[in-house]
């Protein structure tokens, strides 16, 4: 009985455990798993840090209309981590063709040209499962730290923080190493 009484106090005195989630994939199912883990672990008391590289950063982007100039042309004033001297026009094509926003991501299987994600979201709504954009915001509210790889930001012409729905830091592999070295849990999705 004694140990039952003392153990929660011990847990509170210990330094917080840390975890890292690295999201590479830009697909709805994998992004859902990543945010489910990050938000759930943070709620359980772990200090989580999420990293986004390549297409993984797509789920943090603001959804833009096909006819909006902001979809095709990154603001010329740049943003965090951008090197405008080495920009090319092709970057705007890549940026425009990339999926933007948590509600525009494809599925890795059974995509059916965009019908699959609609069906999955419908099932999730019916079952009361949190949607990806809700998970992104609730993980942010719980205190998950978001970081985006600087070379991806520069190469894909993301203008941080203009293009993102949440606050994120632009950092590099050295910072990722420090995060991982201090972590008890690390996963790459």
């Amino acid at each position: 009985m004694d140990s039952l009484l003392t153990s929660p106090i011990d847990a509170a005195q210990k330094p917080k455990k840390k975890g890292t989630v690295l999201l590479v994939s830009g697909e709805l199912d994998k992004a859902l798993v990543a945010f489910e883990i990050a938000a759930g672990f943070q709620a359980m008391g772990m200090e989580m840090s999420m990293w986004f590289v390549l297409y993984g950063a797509n789920c943090l982007r603001k959804p833009r209309s096909l006819f909006s100039p902001a979809k095709w042309f990154a603001r010329l004033r740049g943003g965090q981590g951008r090197n405008l001297e080495t920009d090319t026009a092709l970057q705007h094509v890549v940026r425009g063709l990339n999926h933007d926003g948590a509600c525009h991501l494809p599925l890795s299987q059974l995509n059916f040209g965009g019908l699959g994600p609609m069906i999955v979201r419908r099932i999730m709504r019916r079952k009361g499962i949190a949607q990806l954009d809700e998970l992104i915001r609730s993980a942010r509210d719980l205190g998950v730290r978001y970081s985006i790889c600087q070379i991806c930001v520069d190469a894909m012409a993301f203008s941080v923080p203009d293009d993102l729905i949440v606050e994120a830091d632009v950092r590099g592999v050295g910072a990722y190493y420090l995060d991982v070295a201090a972590s008890d849990y690390n996963v790459t999705i």
């Binding site: 951008r82 600087q150 070379i151 590099g172 592999v173 910072a175 190493y177 420090l178």
Partner: protein
């Protein structure tokens, strides 16, 4: 009196992991207490070098911003 510099390294024009790779190669050939001046223009260059020093026990002696967004960081190699 300015700190004597044992080795100069210029990594301008390359980005994220390459400055760290070059830095790690150069630091390997230096003894504890020697200094290295590394210059680069990667947008996250300074924080990368600071993270490298924090992870490997080196000291950042000085940081100087130069022209065209280049940054020079003076490092004292740790033991």
């Amino acid at each position: 009196m300015p700190t004597p510099i044992d080795l100069r390294l210029d990594v301008s024009g390359v980005c994220c992991p390459v400055p760290l790779i070059e830095l790690a190669k150069s630091v390997r050939n230096l003894d504890a207490g020697q200094t290295l001046l590394i210059t680069g223009n990667d947008p996250i260059f300074e924080s990368s070098v600071r993270d490298f020093c924090l992870a490997n026990g080196h000291a950042v002696v000085d940081v100087v911003a130069g022209a065209r967004r280049s940054v020079s960081v003076l490092i004292r190699v740790g033991g």
